[in-house]
Amino acid sequence: MGLRRYTRMEYKSPDDIVFGKALYPVYERFGVQIGAGFVVPEIKVAPHAGTEKELKTFVEHHKQFTKEILDLCLQLGFKHIMIEQEHVFQQTWNKDYAYETAHAQVELAEKYYTEYGLGVTIRHTIGDIRKVEEPGGLREGEHARHMFEAFEACASAGVGDVAIETTGGKEILDWAVARGDVKGILFGIGVCGSEDMAWVWPQIVKIVTKYGTVPAGDTNCSGANTVMFLAGGLMDREVAHTVAAMARAIAGARSLVAVEAGALGPLKDCGYENPIIKAITGVPVCIECTSICACAHIDVMGNLNRAVGDVYSNESVDYHQEFGGSTAEVWTAVTGNAAALANVALQAGQEKTLRDLLTLSDKYRDPQGLILAYDNAYRIGKAITEYGKDPYLRAKYAAIEAGKIILEAYEAKKIALTRWELDSLNKALEIFNALPDDGEKFKEECIKEYYGKVPGFDPKNYGWAGK
C-alpha cells in the first residue's frame, strides 16, 4: 500500500487550530467521538508490579482498575473517557495476555455505555518489542511476529483503537544524542524512523481495520522523548534544550508517516510532536503535559499542549493507593477536570482565549515549548509539507525551521538561552544547512559513518542492503 504524502497543510491558518476540534474527527465504539467539538479525558494505568506473573491475576487487575475508573466517571459526572493500556512486555509477547485484558476492558466499556450512556473507548498500545540484534532483526525477528499478533489479538477483542510507539532508528538516536551528534539524530529519527514506520504502519492498518478497530497513531517516544527526558530540567547538563527542540521537530516529520499510511488518530499522546502533525493533517491528537501527566513526565511544558489536544492524557501511572483513592481514580479526576475546563471554554465560545493562555503559560519558558506553540508548530508543518514527498528533506527542514524559530525569539529577547544552548543551536544549524539535499546521498554517507560504529545498527533492518 502506498503512502499518502502531505504536500500541503490541511489547516489554512494556525488560528483555526484549537483543542477539542479537528478537521477529521474520529468515531470509536461505545459513543466516543474525538475532535468533534469537545475534549475527551484519557487515563493510562500501568499494572502494578507482580500482577503480570499469571494471566488470571493480570486480567483481574485490569478489570479492577478499569471498573474503578468507570465508577469514578459516574461519581464525577464525566461523559466520556478513553482508557489506554500501554502494553507491558508480557502483553505483547503473549497474545493471550493481549486478548484477555483487552476483552475484559471492552466488556466493561460496553456495560457502562449500555447501562449509563457513558462514552468509553479502550485503546491498546502495542509494545514495540522488536530487537535489532536478534536473528531477523526488526522485520523478520520473532519479536516482530509477536508484535503484529498482539495487534490482531487486541483488534479481535474489540478495542476502540490501537497505537504504538515504534522504535526504528533508536540505536542510532541513543548513540548520537549522548554525543550531541545532530546529524545522527536526524538520521536516526528522520530517516531510519520514517523508513521503519513506512514498513510497519501499512501492516497495522490492514490488520486492525478488518475488525473495525481504528488505527490511531504512533509517536517518537523512543527518540524525541528520550532526548527530552535526557535533556531534563533547566539545571541538567546532558542535552542542550535547543537540540532537544530540533529533535522534536524532526519527530514531527517522522510520526506523520502513520497518518500517511492510514492512521486516523487520535494520535498517540507521548509524542509532543502532535501539534505539528495536527496542523498538517487535521486529525485529532492525544496530548500530555506536566499539569496533567506529572505522575509520569515532568518537563518545562506545563500547559502548552493542552491548547491543541483533543484527548488529554495522564501519560501513565503505576497502580497504587493515594489519599484521594487509587492512582487510576486520582488521575482520571485530573484529566477529566482539565477536559471539563476546555469543554466549558468550547461551549462558551472562549476556546481561543483559553488556548492562548495555555500556550503563553509556557511559550517562552523553554525552546521545546516555543517550537510546539501552535503558531510555530504550524510553521514547522509548512516546512515539512514543502518537502512532503521526501522523508529526509522534510525532517531536515523541520529541524532548520525549529532552529530559526528559536533564534528569532532569542534575538527578540523573548527567550533566554545559555551560551551552550545557543552554541549548540548555531552549530546544529550550520551542520543541517551543509547537508546534501539528496536523500540517497545522505543515507549512504550515514550508513558509511555509523555501520560498524553504532552497536546494533544494521541497514538491513531498514530494507537497505548491507555495507
Binding site: F89, W93, I129, R179, R237, D356, S361, Y364, A373
Partner: protein
C-alpha cells in the same frame, strides 16, 4: 467577563504575530531560566585552568591527555600508536589517558562540562585503550569488574550504556550482558565473573520485578555484592524492598558506587549513605 476575554484574545492573537499586547506580559515574573542565571556566575572561567592540576606536563603524556580532554579520538590513536613504541601500556593509561578523562569527568561533576563532552572524551580514551590492548596482545589491568544488564522484557538500554561509559572511563572492566536479560543469566554472570557490583536498569514497572528475583538468588548463593538498580520506573522505595538493592539515579554515579564496592563497603552501608558516596 466576555469583554475582558475578548480583549485578551485580541491581545494574545496579535501578540502571536507578535504584538504590543503580548509584550505587556512580563514573562520574567512568571518563569526564570535558572540555567542562564547560573551560567552568568561561571562566565570567564576557563575549563582548562580549572583542571590544570590533574593534567600531566611531560610529553608525550601531556599531548595525549589533552587530546582525550578535547575528545579527539583520531589524534589519541595516532599519539598512542607512537608512544607505545617506547612507553609501557600501563604507564600510558595512568599518566595520559586516565588524567585526561578524569579532568573531563571532574568538569562534568562540577557543572561546567556537558554529557556530550564526556562521551566524546570517553570515545577518545577508548580509542587509546584499543591501541594499547592490541599492542599488548591482551587486556590491560583494570580496577575490577562490573556486570551490567537491562531487565528481562525490557529493551531500553540508554541508561545502562551511559553508565557503562562512565565506568570504562574510570578504569573498570564492564561485562555487558545487554538488554532483555533473563534472571538466571545475570546470576550466572555474577558467579562466573565475580564483579565488585552488578547493575540493572528497567523502564517499566513490570520488568523491574526481575530485580528482587536476581537479588534473592545472589543472596542464596552468598554473592552479597551491591546491586545498583536504575531506570524510568525504578525508585528508592522499590530498591529498598529487597536485599542488595541500591538506587542508581544518574549514570555518573556508577564509578563512585564501584569504588565503594571495591573498598568492601557493605551494600547496607552504601544504601544508607548513597547521598554521600555517590551524590547526583
Amino acid at each position: 467577563m466576555r469583554e475582558v476575554g475578548w480583549a485578551m484574545v485580541e491581545g494574545i492573537l496579535a501578540g502571536m504575530k507578535p504584538s504590543v499586547k503580548e509584550e505587556r506580559i512580563d514573562f520574567g515574573k512568571i518563569h526564570t531560566r535558572w540555567n542562564v542565571v547560573e551560567e552568568e556566575k561561571k562566565l570567564g572561567l576557563k575549563p582548562e585552568d580549572l583542571v590544570k592540576d590533574l593534567m600531566p606536563t611531560a610529553e608525550p603524556f601531556k599531548s595525549i591527555a589533552e587530546a582525550v580532554f578535547k575528545g579527539d579520538a583520531t589524534k589519541v590513536e595516532s599519539l598512542v600508536n607512537e608512544a607505545i613504541k617506547k612507553i609501557p601500556a600501563k604507564e600510558l593509561v595512568d599518566k595520559a589517558l586516565a588524567p585526561g578523562m578524569q579532568a573531563v569527568t571532574k568538569l562534568y561533576e562540577d557543572g561546567i562540562y556537558y554529557l556530550p563532552q564526556v562521551m566524546l572524551a570517553a570515545d577518545a580514551m577508548q580509542a587509546g585503550i584499543n591501541v594499547l590492548e592490541k599492542a599488548t596482545g591482551g587486556k590491560l589491568e583494570k580496577k575490577g569488574k562490573v556486570v551490567m544488564h537491562v531487565a528481562e522484557g525490557d529493551i531500553h538500554d540508554l541508561g545502562k550504556n551511559l553508565a557503562k561509559v562512565f565506568l570504562i572511563a574510570d578504569g573498570w572492566e564492564v561485562v555487558d550482558l545487554g538488554r532483555d536479560v533473563p534472571v538466571d543469566e545475570v546470576v550466572k554472570a555474577v558467579e562466573e565473573h565475580k564483579p565488585v557490583m552488578v547493575t540493572g536498569t528497567a523502564l517499566m514497572t513490570t520488568t523491574m520485578t526481575a530485580f528482587p528475583k536476581i537479588a534473592q538468588k545472589l543472596v542464596e548463593k552468598g554473592l552479597n555484592i551491591p546491586f545498583v538498580c536504575g531506570g524510568g520506573a525504578v525508585n528508592e522505595d522499590f530498591v529498598q524492598q529487597f536485599p542488595l538493592g541500591i538506587i542508581g539515579k544518574k549514570a555518573h554515579q556508577a564509578p563512585k558506587y564501584a569504588e565503594a564496592a571495591a573498598k568492601k563497603i557493605s551494600w547496607e552501608e552504601i544504601r544508607r549513605r548513597w547521598h554521600e558516596i555517590a551524590p547526583v
